[in-house]
């Protein structure tokens, strides 16, 4: 019944291109923001069902039906527990269901965005939103060096262990203390890499001109326009749904 890997299946990186991943990153961001905002318009159950339903086209476009289904199935127990806990504190089944659906639909929206947008695209997106280059570039560089530094850690651990160093010994505090001979070489290697990286950046004229040009350009295709219109429709309908009076009182918390 418990399947933790299944629960996070929805966040697993997508392999290959989908019609969703080919969209302009800005469209993807707008859709993501819309679907995060939508369930927050009102707390009614109707609103939550609507926002979940409205995501169907995106699920299909990003080919994540199977991942969504598997995640939901694996999280069923968790969902039931959440509903029950909510019910115990609020005594409103409808409210409890609404809250859990809100959570689920926000998770789906984030998962579609995160798995369908590459880190490089997020970097470009930040640049487009006028975030300074130093920040967006640090973001990309950090991602670039994750596998490199991970290799370094493995190398340091294996070389310390092969010289007879016991990593897993003693109490919790002792174990933490035993990480020091791993961390110090790690930090030194990272600083050295950073220094060489700075040299390489300097050699490639980083920061030389005020007006940096862009190799990757994203244009707006028909799909982008259709989905942007879709986002507007969904938000408009959502606002209309939000004006309907909820059948229960908001936040009837009991202490």
């Amino acid at each position: 019944m418990l399947d933790p890997m299944g629960m996070v299946e929805i966040f697993r990186t997508q392999v290959g291109e989908t019609s969703y991943s080919k969209l302009n990153p800005l469209t993807k961001l707008i859709l993501f923001a819309s679907f995060i905002a939508l369930p927050l318009i009102s707390a009614s159950l109707l609103m939550q069902i609507f926002s979940l339903m409205a995501q169907t086209p995106l699920i299909i476009l990003s080919r994540s039906e199977r991942r969504v289904k598997r995640s939901l199935k694996a999280s069923l127990l968790f969902i039931v527990v959440l509903v029950v806990l909510n019910y115990l504190t609020t005594h409103s089944l409808e409210f409890s269901l609404a809250m859990v659906l809100r959570l689920v639909s926000m998770i789906i929206a984030s998962a579609i965005f995160m798995t369908g947008t590459s880190p490089a695209e997020i970097g470009d997106l930040l640049t487009k939103l006028k975030v300074p280059l130093q920040i967006t570039f640090s973001f990309v560089i950090a991602l670039r060096f994750i596998p490199v530094l991970a290799d370094d850690v493995v190398m340091i651990i294996t070389s310390q262990v092969s010289r007879g160093y016991e990593l897993e010994r003693g109490s919790f505090l002792e174990k933490v203390r035993r990480l020091i001979p791993i961390l110090i070489p790690m930090i030194i290697i990272a600083i050295r890499r950073g220094h060489q990286l700075a040299e390489a950046l300097e050699t490639k004229a980083f920061g030389a001109t005020e007006k940096r040009s862009n190799y990757v350009v994203y244009d707006y295709g028909r799909g982008d326009w259709i989905l942007l219109v879709y986002a507007i429709i969904v938000i408009t309908v959502g606002l209309m749904v939000g004006t309907l009076t909820p059948q229960f009182q908001l936040l009837p918390f009991q202490y």
């Binding site: 590459s118 880190p119 490089a120 990309v140 560089i141 991602l143 670039r144 596998p147 490199v148 890499r193 060489q196 990286l197 700075a198 040299e199 390489a200 950046l201 300097e202 050699t203 490639k204 004229a205 980083f206 920061g207 030389a208 001109t209 007006k211 940096r212 040009s213 862009n214 190799y215 990757v216 350009v217």
Partner: protein, 277 residues
Amino acid sequence: MLKIEDVTFRYEGSKRPALSEVSLEIDRGEFLLIAGLSGSGKSTLLRLLNGLIPHFYRGEMKGKVLVDGVDTREASVAQLSKKVGLVFQNPDNQIVTLRVDREIAFGLENLGLPRDEIVGRIDEVLKKLGIEHLRKRSTAELSGGEKQLVAIASVLAMKPDVIVLDEPTSELDPFSSARIAKVLGNLNREGVTVVVAEHRLDLFAPKANRMIVISNGRIVREGHPRELLYRGDISLHGVRPPSVVKLARKYGVVGAQPLAVGELIVALRRGVRIDRS
């Protein structure tokens, strides 16, 4: 083209100078091989050429370096990057983006070139180095040799007059190292000036048309690689001639001064005196 005039450089915090009274001139179209032990001053010499010294490294510098007549002290590293491209030892630490084509575009974007120009140059260098198939690959999943080729491509795309490489094969397997040597040989034939500091003399000496040996921060030998490697006294400075040279000596074919295995075979076939004593 490049002119080092009587340069002495001492890194901040170190007592001895890394380079002492070094003078060197590099002409257009040359393939210069720099040999010497680790710590002899090879890297320092290369850093002088594109202005990393004195702009990036602090220390005490005497003498001057001229790139196309411009004193490197007067120009920024970025301005010099259009003239002198530097490729480093470790390919992992010089790749800054997540995809091959973006990596090659990176320096060009920094220069603010128009997009069409960038696309054109990417096509050109990928073709030149024979790595068109890597274009859309993620930089993290490349092999060491492929990474180094991409690093060379990204520097080459900036169209420098001189490409300078600091031990480009030290982290690579023999197969990739040979490929790098071949690529550099081809580039040189197309007119690019190549300066390379290397330990793998067997691969690079046959491509080079000039060689210098550095020891303790001084240029101690200078000449054609054939002449230097057959002279016999360079091992005093920690430089070991490639095995072809040893074999040629052993079999008495030193007259032809072969540096590559192919040349040795040709020399042997021609019936050069074989002395097995």
